[in-house]
């Protein structure tokens, strides 16, 4: 680092933090962030111990969660890893809420606390407030209230119906959690008060609709018989949990409400799963920028900066594919490199950049960066902004593994011929639609055995994984009647799953069902 002209006294020189120092650092970082006009929610910085951090970990980042054994499992494995020193804890956890809650660990040094404040309280926070997915899919101001509502509701259910009944139901919902989101429709924002107020009405209303749907009283002959023949639902349904909540014939009202809770929480986390690279990259870019500005103003010491850079470089370290530490692309590294590169393209465009990015080369970097942050998700962000320079720097290359061929094919590398292909394929890799099998509800045999048929559209002939049958058992538990899954390549059915399995006589007892009386048919 070239020593520049520096003014001002360092805020602190030791590595011990105090609450007063955190406040001062936060104020200074906030002042610089304002210079870049970062729009944030108010911050609530909470200092916690390592044990509390493990608790926060275990509840997958929800500050308040309902009770479920799987969180206990997370906790046990985190605890074990941490106590044996196999893994460090994250320096911070930040929650998309208003005010934005950031957890700081007691064990951190002053430098780490400042890094975390810059990273979480100004980086992630402004991303939560700015990015379109978060703006339209989540409601930061009400999430905490909703989680409180969910926790209480589920606790009441446990009291009334027993822990086991609720646990079984939650197991089944969790298995389908990734299929509990609306990908294209904007959901209504959730609000706890509203939920409580409407929940009773909804129960009754829902049940009435369902009773109507499954009405077994014979209709007058000759009336709308042609309608009976058509498939139902008319369109394939991507949100399986929503479909269950609204249409499963045997669920009781409280069970529908629990399905709804899991669905709402899945929806809340959906944007985070789609913006990992962008979100982490953005936060990393800003902690880097903000702390460097602090240094330029002479507010932090050289020692502070050395420690900071050491942490920073380990965060953005990208092992290459043949390294034993390699476990895929590091979202921090990719995101940080891309934001830095966008700034470079804006400030010092080369000939190549002008060819590739005529729109942004030479433009104002701050507004370009914000535009990118606000309007994209990982997939489109990479497709739009991954430059040949970043591809070269990271030496990205693309491998095609086709099970019909004996050898792997290197489809493209970081050269002129390959940039576009690498970029497209990397973007596709972050497309949730490609990463998760495309399974949708196809039809329901409403007048027959009430069986539910799902269809899986194969992508590049990729089959379903080995836990599919288990998931279908869970779906069977929720739906209450037979489940069929057809796997399709194009229009051709290439595989089927059935729960309970077909052609087996006495299977009834072996498959999980919610303990329900089946209404007389």
């Amino acid at each position: 680092m070239i020593p520049r002209e520096r003014k001002g006294q360092p805020i602190s020189t030791g590595s011990e933090w105090t609450f007063e120092l955190i406040r001062v650092y936060d104020k200074e970082i906030g002042r610089i962030a304002e210079r870049y006009a970062l729009d944030t929610y108010p911050n609530q910085i909470e200092v916690i111990t390592a044990e509390q951090m493990m608790d926060a970990y275990a509840s997958v980042g929800m500050p308040i969660g309902y009770h479920h054994w799987s969180y206990g499992k997370h906790f046990l494995s985190t605890e074990k890893g941490y106590k044996r020193g196999q893994m460090g804890l994250a320096y911070e956890i930040v929650i998309n809420s208003d005010p934005c809650i950031a957890y700081l660990m007691e064990e951190n040094t002053m430098c780490m606390q400042a890094l975390v404040v810059a990273h979480a309280c100004y980086g992630h926070n402004s991303f939560f407030k700015g990015n379109y997915l978060f703006r339209s899919w989540t409601d930061a101001s009400s999430i905490i209230d909703y989680l409180v509502f969910a926790k209480q509701y589920i606790m009441q259910c446990e009291e009334r119906h027993g822990i086991d009944a609720v646990e079984e139901l939650l197991d089944s919902c969790h298995a389908l959690m990734n299929y509990g989101v609306d990908r294209y429709k904007r959901p209504y924002p959730i609000s706890a008060e509203e939920e409580k107020r409407r929940q009773k009405d909804r129960e009754e209303h829902l049940q009435r609709q369902i009773n109507d749907l499954w009405r077994t009283i014979p209709k007058a002959p000759g009336k709308d018989n042609e309608k009976e023949q058509s498939r139902w639902p008319a369109e394939p349904q991507e949100n399986i949990l929503y479909f269950i909540e609204k249409h499963a014939p045997l669920l009781e009202p409280w069970q529908r409400e629990v399905v709804r809770i899991v669905r709402k929480i899945a929806q809340y986390f959906y944007p985070q799963r789609q913006t990992q690279v962008m979100n982490e990259g953005w936060a990393t870019f800003w902690h880097y920028t903000l702390l460097n500005d602090l240094y330029d103003e002479g507010l932090v010491t050289d020692g502070f900066m050395m420690e900071f850079l050491q942490s920073h470089t380990s965060v953005i370290y990208q092992p290459s594919f043949d390294s034993p530490y390699y476990s895929g692309i590091n979202p921090y590294a990719l995101g940080f490199a891309m934001y830095r590169d966008i700034r470079r393209i804006c400030e010092n465009p080369t000939e190549e950049d002008k060819r590739w990015f005529p729109d942004i080369a030479g433009s104002d970097w701050l507004s370009t960066l914000k535009f990118a942050m606000q309007t994209f998700k990982d997939e489109s962000f990479i497709l739009q902004f991954l430059s040949p320079k970043v591809i070269r720097d990271l030496k990205l290359f693309s491998i095609v593994d086709d099970d019909q061929k004996d050898e792997l094919l290197v489809a493209a590398i970081h050269d002129d011929a390959g940039y576009r292909l690498v970029r497209e394929q990397l973007a596709a890799q972050y497309n949730l639609g490609n990463r998760e099998p495309n399974v949708q509800i196809w039809s329901v045999d409403r007048r027959g055995d009430r069986s539910l048929t799902l269809r899986h559209q194969q992508h590049d002939r990729k089959p379903l994984g080995e836990s599919t049958e288990e998931v279908l058992k869970h779906l069977h538990r929720l739906w209450g009647f037979d489940i069929h899954l057809e796997s399709l390549q194009g229009d051709r059915i290439v595989g089927t799953y059935h729960v309970p399995p077909k052609g087996d006589g006495d299977y009834e007892e072996n498959y999980p069902r919610l303990d329900l009386a089946i209404p007389p048919i």
């Binding site: 494995s77 197991d171 476990s327 693309s398 095609v400 593994d401 493209a412």
Partner: protein, 424 residues
């Protein structure tokens, strides 16, 4: 715009419930692991937690995901020598050099076990699950050497520090009202009369003065009633209630004759430790009395009990006699819950066995909560066992005998002895 909050003092055990849910769900796995651990552990080693390992497969939460196969395209960083269009052999196994699947586990096999720790408390919970101490009733009805004081209403005698001010003042007030009642009525009448006189007969000085004197006399009389009298004082009453004794004494009887090897003694020791840990869960205080015997019995300390070596013949009745003496001397039956555990390899003087039976039946069994006999031998039963059979028939509720062949039997036998019985 920022608030810094110190949450470190908040509870750190937010995950406790979830953790317990997890243990509850996998209790069968954990119980199995605990049982294995009990037979594997060294005898001094019962007092801490245990590492439990559950096959990862059993614990997975299923989700829909892509399996291997089909056409997979993956972008990797850090290219060194590859060029576009190059074909490279598919690496064997998973992970590494770019075989498609994102998962590093190879072909579903060899999944890691899920390993975690349970605490000593939980370990013992699992170890003694479904077991119970028979004949616990005695503990609830006998024994009165400890007391606890409980509040028992109000009394008119007591210690000044326990005075009940409200009740005292209330009763003083009541007393004042009661004692001054007639005087106050007269006073009221006199006052009314005085007022009438003053109005109607202002010149009747004699009557007026008489009335005024009367009023003064009545006032003085009312004022003479004391504000607070010793009679008024009320005290909070505390009474002593006998605290049911929760003391137990455990007699460990062991044969140390020449036929008992160190290995046999180890087995016996494990059994005694299990019993001790188990008793400790039910009783606040436990005394342990170690009695070893060959041809004669002796009360010894723990170290000597397990490790010193002696040889000689075997007369079991000597130990039983000593036990009976110690019981009579130090552990009165009305205060102590008495448990006996005897370990032996079954050898005894044949003449002695009936004697043992008699001592047990007449002098020991009526006074103990439970008596268990374990015979640590791979051989045929001898006379002692058959004599003890008679005892068991006479006291089916509180006498049990079992045979242990190897260390692995200890825990099952222990469970057998203390299996929870359906109340009849």
């Amino acid at each position: 715009m920022s608030y810094v909050i110190d949450r470190r003092l908040n509870g750190k055990n937010k995950s406790t419930v979830n953790r317990q849910r997890f243990l509850r769900r996998y209790r069968d796995h954990i119980k199995k692991a605990v049982e294995e651990a009990v037979s594997r552990r060294s005898i001094t080693d019962m007092e801490h937690g245990e590492q439990i390992s559950i096959p990862g497969r059993d614990i997975d939460e299923p989700v829909l995901h892509h399996g291997r196969g089909g056409k997979q395209t993956i972008v990797h960083p850090g290219n060194k020598e590859f060029t576009a269009g190059e074909r490279i052999p598919r690496p064997s196994g998973g992970g590494g050099g770019g075989s498609g699947s994102g998962k590093a586990s190879n072909s579903g096999e060899g999944m890691d076990d899920f390993v975690f720790q349970i605490t000593q408390e939980e370990f013992l919970d699992f170890m003694f699950e479904d077991l119970e101490l028979p004949n616990l009733i005695k503990r609830h009805i006998t024994g009165a050497d400890t007391f606890k004081t409980v509040r028992a209403g109000i009394s008119s005698e007591g210690n000044p520090s326990r005075i009940n001010i409200i009740r005292t003042l209330r009763s003083a007030h009541a007393r004042r009202i009661a004692l001054s009642g007639s005087s106050r009525t007269k006073l009221r009448q006199a006052k009314a009369e005085l007022a009438r006189l003053k109005l109607e007969e202002p010149d009747n000085f004699g009557d007026i003065r008489k009335l005024e004197e009367e009023i003064a006399r009545l006032r003085a009389r009312i004022e003479r009633i004391p504000f607070l009298d010793t009679f008024d004082l009320k005290y909070n009453l505390l009474v002593k209630q006998p605290n049911p004794s929760s003391k137990a004494v455990m007699f460990c009887l062991m044969d140390v004759s020449g036929s008992m090897t160190q290995a046999t003694k180890d087995i016996a020791k494990r059994f005694f430790i299990l019993l001790y840990l188990f008793l400790k869960r039910s009783y606040d205080r436990i005394d342990v009395v170690f009695i070893r015997h060959h041809t004669s019995a002796k009360e010894v300390d723990e170290e000597e009990f397990f490790y010193s070596r002696e040889t000689g013949g075997t007369i079991v009745s000597s130990a039983l006699k000593l036990m009976q003496e110690v019981m009579a001397e130090r552990y009165p039956v009305n205060e102590w819950n008495i448990y006996g555990a005897q370990a032996s390899d079954g050898d005894n003087w044949n003449d002695d066995s009936p004697l043992c039976r008699d001592i047990l039946m007449k002098q020991i069994m009526p006074f103990v909560q439970y008596y268990s006999y374990v015979e640590i031998t791979p051989r045929e039963h001898q006379a002692l066992w058959y004599e003890y059979d008679n005892v068991r028939e006479a006291f089916p509720e509180s006498f049990a005998q079992q045979q242990i062949v190897s260390a692995a039997d200890i825990y099952p036998v222990f469970r057998e002895l203390f299996q929870r019985r359906i109340a009849t």
